[in-house]
Symmetry: C2
Subunit: 367 residues, 2 copies
């Protein structure tokens, strides 16, 4: 498909939903993409099957704390520099770019880079959502290395990391991000088409657009945007088991930026006919939603907090006391729920004591 300017808002909104509270402010992403597409009619979106086996695909993303990104915008040049470093490291030109994570800002930035370079964007990512740490991808789960990792900032500083494993890559990249002021642009997990075919989460870019479009069309038709959103999610390959878990008002909010992450938790008090209290904790992204102490959804399944009237997804940095919100849960892609995957980004990897239980099973228990 061809991605045109009129799809920017839909992608931004869908990506914000899939960002599960993290991945960076999609408003900033859409501003950057609008600017990048000022003189560009369209960007080519290609399927994983359209990538030749030995062609190089380069995921591009920002890394750091979304709370800082609001005040420290990328200028666009650093993403290009990051891509060029990867091309030099591989001794091969990029055939296409792609999102590392489809959640939030990081869904839009590869399109900004595509608009600058004329490269197509692959309709896939490494998680079908957003995650706070570098190794938390299906690429890593399948043994595809993050290294070489190129990291650039808006001043032209550049760091190229060759790590022996992805956890050390995350550690070195995180140290670099903090030294650069808590946000930067990066490329990592660059790989050949034949490897992407094995480990990419497919179709997530077009899924994000479909999710965003469903909300917009419902609003334009003065229909219930949550009904439309649920219908759209159930039409996707992955997010079929989707539910409105809770409806309420933000009553308490703890949030701090430490070690390059935005961490905290939000407490929401029910609006009838819902009852009780829901607490959602986050490390950049939402990790677990509990209603009166009972787990309703848990990572890697998706937890989104949305404006209860407009279904506008709210990022953790956009949470405010008194907001009226709905909390939604959605199933992650099956590849994200394997034991090997849970060993990388399951609840235990975030220090949570609760085991992973699919949201559809939790929903069946609760109803």
């Amino acid at each position: 498909m061809m991605f045109t300017r009129d799809l920017i808002e839909d992608l931004a909104r869908g990506a914000a939903f899939l960002g599960t509270g993290g991945g960076g402010d999609p408003y900033i992403g859409s501003m950057l993409l609008k600017q990048a597409m000022r003189d560009v009619e369209s960007i080519k979106i290609i399927g994983v099957d359209e990538v030749p086996p030995d062609a190089l695909v380069v995921p591009s993303a920002m890394m750091g704390a979304p709370t800082v990104l609001i005040e420290k915008l990328p200028n666009g040049a650093e993403a290009l520099q990051s891509l060029i470093e990867i091309e030099e490291a591989f001794g091969q030109k990029a055939f296409a770019v792609m999102p590392a994570e489809i959640g939030g800002l990081n869904a839009l930035l590869p399109l900004v880079l595509a608009a600058k370079t004329g490269l197509p964007v692959v309709d896939a990512d490494g998680m079908g959502r957003a995650f706070p740490e570098l190794q938390m991808t299906t690429f890593h789960v399948h043994g595809q290395p993050a290294s070489p990792i190129s990291i650039t900032d808006e001043h032209g500083n550049c760091v190229v990391i060759w790590s022996k494993n992805d956890l050390m890559g995350e550690k070195l990249a995180r140290a670099t991000v903090v030294a650069m002021g808590a946000t930067c642009q990066m490329c990592c997990f660059a790989m050949l088409g034949k490897h992407l075919a094995e480990c990419g989460v497919r179709g997530t870019l077009t899924a994000a657009i479909a999710i965003g479009r469903a909300i917009r069309l419902a609003r334009e038709a003065h229909e219930d945007p949550f009904e439309a959103l649920l219908t759209a999610l159930r039409a996707t390959d992955y997010y079929k088991s989707s539910y409105v878990l809770f409806d309420g008002k933000v009553a308490d909010l703890k949030r701090e930026t430490t070690g390059g992450f935005a961490r905290g938790e939000v407490r929401i008090e029910a609006i009838a006919p819902f009852t009780g209290t829901m607490e959602v904790s986050f490390q950049n992204e939402h990790l677990v939603a509990k209603q009166d102490g009972v787990v309703r959804a848990i990572v890697p399944d998706l937890i989104a907090i949305l404006d209860r009237e407009t279904a506008e997804p709210i990022t953790t940095e956009g949470l405010r006391y008194g907001q009226r919100v709905k909390v939604m849960g959605a199933s992650a892609a099956p590849v994200m729920r394997s034991q090997a995957a849970l060993d990388v980004f399951g609840p235990q990897m975030f220090g949570l004591p609760e085991p992973f239980t699919p949201v559809e099973k939790l929903q069946a228990n609760f109803a």
Copy 2:
């Protein structure tokens, strides 16, 4: 000249003196160099004038906290990897390696690398002593960039930093060092012969050997090693103004490893005919020596603490309560005392309130 195995101990001891308490334990350096020279007859030491104008010279060093290095030895492979990264970045083979700092371990490591590669070592460095931060070199003072900086660890992890300025290079390198476990191998300030001719501190490798040899010969002849040391220092180009400032016993010692540095201060109580108390503060290297509150020597002039019987230089990590020591002061190279140089590594750059005053002037005031 040809550097042979029998010079290792002399170089290690002289480098420990010039390390002014820092630069890493020279014992470790001499062990590594002995091992590297097991099958190598000699290493060629060349003067700055012997480097062709367009030949690449690569300074090699360890970076981090000497207190950690004692427990985390380099394996030798990482220094070579670091050199290769620089060669690739320049697209040019190294003509020679050299010390970035002649103080402590970092005087010996370039010879370890030379033994492995067969490259000569240039008889020069960037300070004629040791300093805790990357930009604190005459190279930086003359506008020679530290970037590209290659950093490697014993596990094969490698980071290449392209920084827009040397302070950002230090910041990114330091973050990397901490992530790697507080010590690593690095190459930085790689430059062509014609640039080295403008900004290198010449003759410091052979000066270190001469200083170490003077102490050894005096011991072997049962003569006063401090007399021999003063004679040797006064015969060098830079360290002409050298004095025994104090003689006493270590009475108090504060030392901590924070942010990748060994920081602290040592208090020494006089042994007659000396009187009063001397306090020496350090950040990896000794910064200022005060006798009863009066400055006797201050950075960038050299402050060394030595065993009062053998004149063995003591590193900050080797300081112990109850040690009997002499404190010496020595003039830094003239190029290290310019206003431009003091703006980079003068007392204010270490947060000291006292202005720089040459040790010979302080000595004249005191006497």
